[in-house]
């Protein structure tokens, strides 16, 4: 049974007042992670296949083809895990 941990290498809070959260995907799973996310989230904008500006439920976030995503407005670790589970699995 796949889990969020299969895809995510690290989650870190950004340094700055924005309090965004950066999710770093595992290198060997990043393409699969991004493909899963693009299937489920609503694509609002994309730039040269490098940045994907997305929306899912009431959350807006960006995914980068280098294998990172930046989420804003997430209130707790549990809420982030729920979002990631819904997007990745």
């Amino acid at each position: 049974m796949p889990s969020v941990e299969d895809y995510v290498a690290r989650i870190e809070g950004t340094c700055g007042e924005e309090k965004d959260i950066i999710v770093v995907f595992k290198y060997d799973k990043k393409d699969e992670a991004i493909a899963n996310i693009l299937k489920k989230a609503q694509l609002k904008n994309s730039l040269s296949g490098i940045i994907f500006e997305l929306a899912f439920r009431d959350i807006s976030f960006r995914v980068y083809s280098s294998g990172k995503a930046i989420f804003r407005g997430i209130k707790s670790k549990e809420a982030l895990n729920n979002i990631l589970a819904a997007l990745l699995l």
Binding site: G16, E18, L47, S48, I50, I51, Y64, S66
Partner: protein
């Protein structure tokens, strides 16, 4: 070779002798060493420590922690809106209560170069000491501790082609001699003899700098730092600064082509080194950094461990481009191409 490294570092910053160089893990540990070895025993209620608002957290937090322990006051000198130091405010805050002034030589956010010699003179006129955070100056410009008359200078190896986990604290020998050890253990003692009568150990400290170097030293780090210095000397540190300034001037000129980019820091580039803080309209600094990451371009984003300065700039965070000897104009052109794409987001 470890002691050769100490000698090389001493000569690099024009210290009087190698004994004035203490090996530490980096700038942060060097400042903490001064705070705990000197500050803990010399600062008391009624005393004042002067710090600027442009400091890295490593030159703020140790003093705040110590202030809560010893009850002295910390006074923060203002920074102008363009990131330059407000010298009048800094100098007006000195009094007979001031025991030490702590100032970065170069801001790690704006690249502003501070006139530490001027502040050191005012500090000494008031009987205070001068501690300089040289993390962003020693790797980039010629630093002469005697000419600048600083009492302490802290810097790191990893910002000057050396490895992480090694750095140095310069301290005037007469000060280091009076200071108590920072950590206890082997190497920092001359003798530990058990007294049967007292049922305690009598301990005598080693001479400086070894008094401050408890435990097995980072020998590899010290030697690697020496080699890094040799490499910089081969190029010439004045050429390093010249190269960085040329790159910064070119980068700023090209960045001004970008309509959504706001540059922070003084417009007069002669006041700063090769560090360029900036923002892109509508994007957080982290978005900007992640975007550049896709192009193999690394910049820094966030507060850069200098939150008070971001409050001065009224910024939630900033992106920062910085240059060193290995960067080229072609890389700046690539950086600008990527920046122009970011503007389209």
């Amino acid at each position: 070779m470890h002691e050769n490294a100490r000698e090389k570092i001493a000569r690099f910053i024009k210290a009087k002798e190698p004994a004035e160089i203490v090996f530490v893990r980096g700038t942060t540990e060097a400042i903490n060493l001064v705070a705990y070895s000197w500050g803990l025993r010399n600062l008391k209620k009624g005393d004042e420590v002067l710090v600027s608002l442009m400091e890295h957290h490593s030159n703020i937090v140790p003093w705040e922690i110590l202030s809560k322990m010893n009850g002295f006051t910390i006074k923060y000198a203002k920074v102008n809106n363009d990131g330059t130091l407000n010298y009048e405010d800094f100098e007006s805050k000195f009094s007979s209560k001031t025991k030490i002034a702590c100032l970065s030589h170069v801001s790690n956010v704006s690249g502003v170069v501070n006139d530490v010699k001027r502040i050191a003179k005012v500090a000494h006129d008031h009987g205070a000491l001068m501690l300089v955070d040289g993390a962003q100056s020693v790797p980039h410009m010629a630093v002469d501790v005697k000419d600048l008359d600083m009492d302490f200078l802290a810097f790191s190896g990893h910002k000057m082609l050396g490895p992480t986990g090694i750095g140095a604290l310069y301290g005037k020998k007469e000060l280091l001699e009076k200071m108590a050890p920072f950590q206890g253990g082997g190497e920092m003692i001359k003798e530990v003899s058990f007294s049967q009568a007292k049922e305690r150990c009598d301990i005598s400290w080693n001479d400086p700098p070894w008094k401050f170097e408890a435990g097995t030293p980072n020998i590899c780090g010290g030697i690697a730092l020496m080699e890094a210095i040799k490499y910089l000397e081969k190029i010439s540190i004045t050429e390093v600064l010249k190269h960085e300034k040329q790159l910064a001037e070119y980068a700023v000129k090209r960045m001004r082509e970008c309509s959504k980019v706001t540059l922070h820091g003084p417009a007069d580039l002669s006041l700063r080194c090769g560090i360029i803080p900036f923002s892109v309209e509508g994007l957080s600094s982290h978005d900007v950094a992640l975007f550049f990451d896709n192009y193999g371009i690394m910049i820094r984003s966030g507060f850069h461990c200098a939150q008070p300065l971001h409050q001065v700039f009224k910024l939630q965070s900033s992106a920062r481009a910085s240059f060193y000897i290995y960067n080229t104009r072609e890389e700046i052109d690539r950086f600008i191409e990527a920046l122009k794409e970011i503007e389209q987001v």
